[in-house]
């Protein structure tokens, strides 16, 4: 059997993702959880690179780390500048969360079991063509044009809504 480094790097990324995800849900300090989530998102981006989906990996980092996570932290710091931000978890929440997590796990396992495509995938070392061009074609010139436009309108509505909520009332 030929020895390659690829599995090691893959398991490195997988371990990084899972371990940091565990930290996210177990740690009590909300800011630590957010920074741990950053490591998780990076790990997932690394796994995308392994699937030769580099565009997706960069998008993952730019949207989740550079955008959403920053906004989460921003919200936390705006609401409380104190260092001690503890999360209190009650038993009822724990139960509900467990049920939801189990349901999600079942759903994902069903999808994985019923998707035949991935079983036929073999790593024969060939490099797949870059995905950027295909994604662009599909979104802007193909079957996903309408959903893409609908999503952008949805985002615009959300943007206007946010501006409306946050603006000051002008009384005269």
């Amino acid at each position: 059997m030929e020895f390659t480094l690829k599995p090691f790097i893959f398991y490195g990324f997988a371990l990084m993702t899972i371990a940091s995800a565990l930290v996210v849900v177990t740690v009590r300090n909300i800011v630590h959880a957010a920074f741990s989530l950053m490591v998780t998102l990076f790990g997932v981006a690394g796994l995308y690179v392994f699937l030769q989906a580099d565009f997706l990996a960069a998008t993952q980092v730019i949207v989740y780390v550079g955008g959403i996570l920053v906004l989460i932290l921003f919200g936390v710091m705006m609401t409380s500048g104190r260092l001690e931000m503890r999360i209190h978890i009650e038993r009822g929440q724990l139960l509900l969360g467990g049920v939801v997590a189990l349901a999600l796990l079942m759903l994902l396992l069903t999808v994985i079991a019923n998707t035949p495509a991935w079983k036929n995938l073999t790593d024969d070392g060939t490099e797949l063509p870059p995905t950027t061009e295909r994604i662009g074609e599909l979104i802007l010139n193909g079957p996903f044009l309408l959903p893409f436009e609908v999503v952008s309108v949805l985002l615009l509505v959300a943007l206007i809504g946010a501006a409306l909520i946050s603006r000051k009332e002008v009384r005269d």
Partner: protein, 421 residues
């Protein structure tokens, strides 16, 4: 005429090829793997040899590249910090540092040595783990950007097919480090600085990305090398002159870049007169130096990216000749933009927060969207880049500049002159 051409074709004008041999990583990777395959493995014991990974060669070359960057890039701030101090001194009619070495050229080195030996103070009330980690995140991200910048035809670490997108992704992580530093210091100055920085960077990323999009629309590729290759026909094929819209996009890109690297007039995150030093107030010693190195490395990186996207990258001003081209040309162009940044810093006062946000959301983002629309229409009218399209573009830019100059002059003339107080 022939003498003239011969002069430019002489080795003197092709110095960059002469002194800077092509360093293409892909060749080196193959070379390293072949070296392991042919030289190392036959010398190993039988049991080890059959399991010995050839890819170790690749990994070693990657480590070597990273080592070269970590070794060379800090030299850049060494030069730039001194340049900054000398430039500011000239602007203020001073001499700047003069004591250490001739004309004070060794001043930064002395400061660096001082910083290494200073106490590394950790605020006892802060969050120790995050406080220690933050400088590394900022440092690593600003260095990772350099991996995709093509310094010359052969001097680049990797020609990603998503090059410029990778740069945007990595540089958007820097803000995480800034927030981490500001929050873990447990100081109000730091927290205020990091909140300001986060708001500023997240806002200015939008016009920055939209300006890059105009370039990507014209080149039809995200790869940095292909963007440069698209500008190989002399100064008028540089993307800044290709359409009037990219001309506007360059200025939006450059000004947003200044905001991204937190420099005056956008230095609210580290405004000395208000919040001490912003997010790195509590840092000292080598960790402070890391922030400093990252800041100046960032400054060079955004200039280099602007040069690659708009000003021809390592391509020269004349097609076929190596004037302002190759590695030296690239560095000269980037340094010119760095100098422009310093010039702005020591000329303009700091913006207020509302002015900063107004500029971004009410002016830059609409203009950047208009640019994208315009570039699309331009691409429909001129599907191929021809002499006519370049001529029309340059004419529009010229007329636009003259008009802007006259309008600005008239507006300023109408304003009452400020009275000395």
């Amino acid at each position: 005429m022939s003498d003239f051409r011969a002069l430019f074709a002489s080795p003197v004008f092709n110095m960059s090829e002469h002194f800077f041999p092509n360093i293409n990583l892909q060749d080196k990777l193959n070379w390293a793997e072949e070296f392991i395959q042919n030289v190392v493995i036959p010398r190993l014991p039988e049991a080890v040899a059959s399991h010995f990974p050839v890819e170790i060669g690749t990994v070693l070359v990657m480590f070597a590249c990273a080592g070269v960057f970590v070794g060379v890039v800090p030299l850049l701030p060494l030069v730039l910090v001194l340049a900054e101090r000398k430039v500011s001194a000239r602007f203020q009619n001073r001499t700047g540092p003069m004591r250490v070495g001739p004309w004070g050229v060794l001043q930064t080195l002395a400061d660096g040595v001082k910083l290494i030996f200073k106490e590394d103070f950790i605020p006892p009330q802060g969050d120790k783990l995050l406080f220690l980690l933050a400088p590394y995140i900022i440092f690593a991200c600003s260095f990772a950007v350099f991996a995709a910048i093509p310094f010359s035809e052969g001097i680049l670490v990797s020609d990603f097919n998503i090059g410029i997108f990778y740069i945007m992704a990595i540089s958007s992580v820097i803000v995480m480090g800034v927030i981490m530093a500001g929050w873990s210091s447990n100081s109000k100055w730091s927290l205020l600085g990091s909140l300001r920085s986060a708001a500023q960077i997240v806002s200015y990323e939008i016009p920055l990305g939209l300006s890059i999009l105009t370039i990507v629309m014209l080149v039809e590729s995200l790869s940095m090398q292909e963007i440069v290759a698209n500008q190989s026909n002399g100064v008028f094929s540089w993307l800044i002159f290709r359409t009037p819209f990219t001309f506007i996009a360059f200025f939006i890109f450059f000004i947003s870049s200044i905001a991204e690297v937190n420099r005056t007039p956008f230095d609210l995150p580290e405004a000395e007169s208000e919040i001490v030093a912003g997010f790195h107030t509590e840092y000292s010693g080598m960790r402070f130096a890391l922030f400093f190195i990252a800041e100046y490395a960032n400054m060079f990186a955004v200039s280099a990216i602007a040069v690659t996207l708009f000003l021809g990258g390592w391509e020269g001003v004349l097609p076929g000749y190596d004037i302002l081209g190759g590695f030296p040309g690239f560095v000269i162009k980037s340094m010119a933009l760095v100098f422009l940044m310093m010039w702005l810093r020591w000329t303009l006062p700091r913006l207020r927060v509302d002015q900063l946000m107004n500029l971004c959301w009410k002016y830059f983002i609409p203009i950047a969207f208009f640019n994208i629309l315009g570039t699309g229409i331009w691409g429909l009218i001129f599907p191929e880049d021809t002499l006519i399209s370049t001529a029309i573009s340059c004419a529009i830019i010229y007329i636009g500049l003259i008009t802007a100059y006259k309008v600005a002059g008239r507006t300023l003339a109408q304003k009452p002159a400020p009275q000395p107080s």
